[in-house]
Symmetry: C2
Subunit: 447 residues, 2 copies
């Protein structure tokens, strides 16, 4: 057998860790569905020209080659997708006559990036995305629905709190244009680095690279420092004294979104004018979420409004808005440190012991009866000593052990291995407490 | 935007189809967990030497190359896995000190094969596997547990009936050796083709390619025609008059497995001595399941006992047994023909209409209240005409529409769009019938 080793950047888990990941994914899916988002999965590959056409040429894409390909035909022309937005845009265009608009979909899948692995960066990881697209124009209500659903979903997960920052590209663009900046994109890119490189470096770069005057740069920096948990950011921007039509539009949109979210728990969303997002295709609202207790993880969820990503050929226009949850990015460091784990390493709630080979039939009947009532149950596979059978249950954290009588007249008994309590039980009616049916998620002290 | 097109061999579904696939996968997972199998996912890639070391050199593997790789470094050395057994064997070896034995795991993931697509063959598809491995030796009980769990799982799916054929390599090998055949593998390979090429061709090839006498070939063919739904196959094999130690062992094992399964519904399992399985690593029990109503799909589930696949280095020995369900192979043709579909294209059970912008707050409260009771609910995004809002629900098959009063003193009402019945309802207590909470699976006539 070939060398056995972990591959850097390709996380893998033991069952007790996978049970946590699975619970997190189930919870995310349930929340997405409670809002009426429909499930979609796309193929894992896209034609390379698709993957590289949306400003993603700097992405490290994995290209596929058939192992038996001939000399002259090295690649298939397909690459593994590096996010779920580009495949979704393609999916919508491909099926656009078969979908009902506004089309709300969620998509939870693995994505791949051929990056050099480092802290918080993976080469294979899972994202959970929600997006809405509509024909011609898309209601701003959806820009507000995204962070609401995100906040509700994240609050339901066994993870540290996450704060979602919201901005609007039109606010920044309008502001820049209002102070006479013509080339907006490079300014956006530099302003986006504020948290990483600090105000002094941003000011210097805005001068050196974009030719901004000190006054212009100071206005950009002053804007980037505006944050509010309500709509008071509007007054703060107005106080900068800049006017521009696009700025007004952006402020109206962002104020609507923040107003719609006023009932969310304090601290879950914040208007944050420093957020620009690197990707070209955002045209309005942008989102960027962080875990304040784990700043080293960086952005854990992100997204925004893209009015021109889908469509673009002829007169088809399908504006969209979406958010992506970086499931692996949030969860992997916590799982790796075992700060969360499942209460047992198997789904099994009851182990039915086997006292003798002759009891296989009875043990099977008990097992079937428990399973039929939704209780995950195993029969021990051989009539081994009871000590060995108990150890099987203990080692896996299985909470209950069932004793099948060898004498048909004797009663069945069930034992709670945690309390040690053992009672007579009827296999046709006994059920464990609901809380024991599935493994629960246990936080360790360091979590 | 690049050319938009489906890629042959990479199936993709509309939401109403994906809802069916998801329901099938949920059901499979629930059954696997009810038997205590623990969830595992492995990374999608394995080192190429791993993928090609287990008799799989004829597999068309997709190799990964970074798009920005240098001239001298064309490949990463990783390939996408083509099944879930090889990655599982690697996973067990890698984590062998951290697992509890016997280790029962299930794994539901996509796999990839760079094959030329044809009917029933895909380049990306989903498999659902169960396997058990143990240290040193593995109880034969598990050989019987596999087809039991498989039969129960398949019976719970909205699919045509599946019959699982069971054989034991030791029966065939013992029989072959008992009639003086020394090179068993080529005979197994040819015998395995019986269903495809017919008895005459098998007889001819056994003579031409393996040098078998007519009497030897006839015995092989006579054995391959033995089938029984109980343990009567033993007498039929004995009647061939061949004796060999390995044959006795195989017959005992297969009789035990069939005996353990005697309580399964008639026709779900059959001892079928024509089954050989192509893969080298099987050492005992082998399984092969077909859908009699869809013979063109070929083998839809398969597996077997492998005593030497895991381990092999030094004195580590981890015998295993497993079965793989070809989810895509079974489901894709049925989904493609729309013989199964979801009763609605969205998870949404209730659409809360929006009579006016001022009602957003009330509509949101109703929506939140319904969601909190587990009812997937959407608020219509804009105060459009009621006709338009109703059409939104109808187009998606959403069963209930909620009417928010514009006058605070007026009552809320809810309408069942199917019956037309409209009633006064209290948002704090009303719930739909349980059957309407999730989309149901609908069979079309042709199914």
């Amino acid at each position: 057998m070939a060398k056995i080793r972990p591959l850097s950047g390709f996380p893998e888990w033991l069952p007790e860790q996978r049970l946590v990941e699975q619970r997190v994914l189930d919870e995310i899916r349930a929340r997405f569905e409670s809002y009426g988002f429909a499930p979609v999965e796309t193929r894992s590959v896209e034609p390379l020209e698709q993957l590289t056409s949306k400003g993603a040429t700097d992405k490290e894409i994995y290209v596929l080659r058939r192992i038996h390909a001939g000399e002259g035909d090295p690649d298939t022309g397909f690459g593994l997708h590096f996010d779920l937005t580009v495949p979704f845009a393609r999916y919508v265009m491909q099926h656009r006559g078969e979908l009902a608009y506004p089309f709300k979909r969620y998509q939870i899948q693995r994505v791949w990036r051929g990056e050099r692995p480092q802290v918080g960066r993976y080469r294979e990881f899972t994202q959970a995305d929600i997006d809405v697209v509509d024909l011609d124009s898309l209601s701003l209500s959806f820009d507000a629905e995204m962070p609401r659903l995100l906040a509700e979903t994240l609050a339901a997960l066994p993870l540290p709190p996450v704060v979602t920052g919201i901005n609007n590209r039109k606010v920044l663009e309008g502001l820049y244009r209002g102070i006479g900046i013509e080339e907006v994109t490079p300014v956006l890119r530099i302003a986006d680095k504020l948290a990483k490189i600090g105000a002094d470096n941003v000011r210097r770069l805005l001068g050196e690279e974009c030719g901004l005057s000190v006054t212009q740069a100071d206005t950009c920096l002053a804007a980037a420092q505006i944050r509010s948990t309500d709509t008071s950011f509007v007054a703060a921007v107005r106080a900068l004294g800049v006017t521009h039509e696009l700025l007004d539009e952006g402020l109206d949109e962002l104020a609507f979104v923040m107003g719609e979210l006023a009932d969310l728990p304090a601290g879950s969303v914040v208007a944050d004018l420093s957020i620009a997002r690197g990707l070209d295709y955002y045209t309005g609202t942008v989102y960027e979420a962080v875990m304040p207790s784990r700043p080293e993880l960086g952005t854990v969820c992100a997204g925004g409004r893209y009015d021109n990503l889908v469509g673009g050929s002829g007169n088809v226009r399908l504006p969209g808005v979406g958010i992506s949850i970086g499931v692996t990015r949030m969860l992997a460091p916590i799982l790796a440190k075992k700060q969360l784990a499942a209460s047992r390493s198997v789904p099994t709630c009851v182990l039915v012991t086997l006292p003798a080979d002759e009891a296989r039939g009875v043990a099977r009947d008990v097992t079937r009866s428990l399973r039929a009532r939704g209780v995950p149950t195993e029969t021990y596979h051989a009539p081994a000593k009871f000590g060995k059978q108990l150890k099987y249950a203990q080692k896996r954290g299985i909470p209950f052990v069932w004793f099948v009588p060898t004498d048909a007249a004797a009663p069945h008994e069930v034992k709670d291995l945690r309390s040690g309590e053992q009672i007579v039980a009827d296999p046709a009616v006994w059920s464990p407490p609901d809380a024991d049916l599935r493994p629960s998620i246990v936080r360790s002290g360091a979590g």
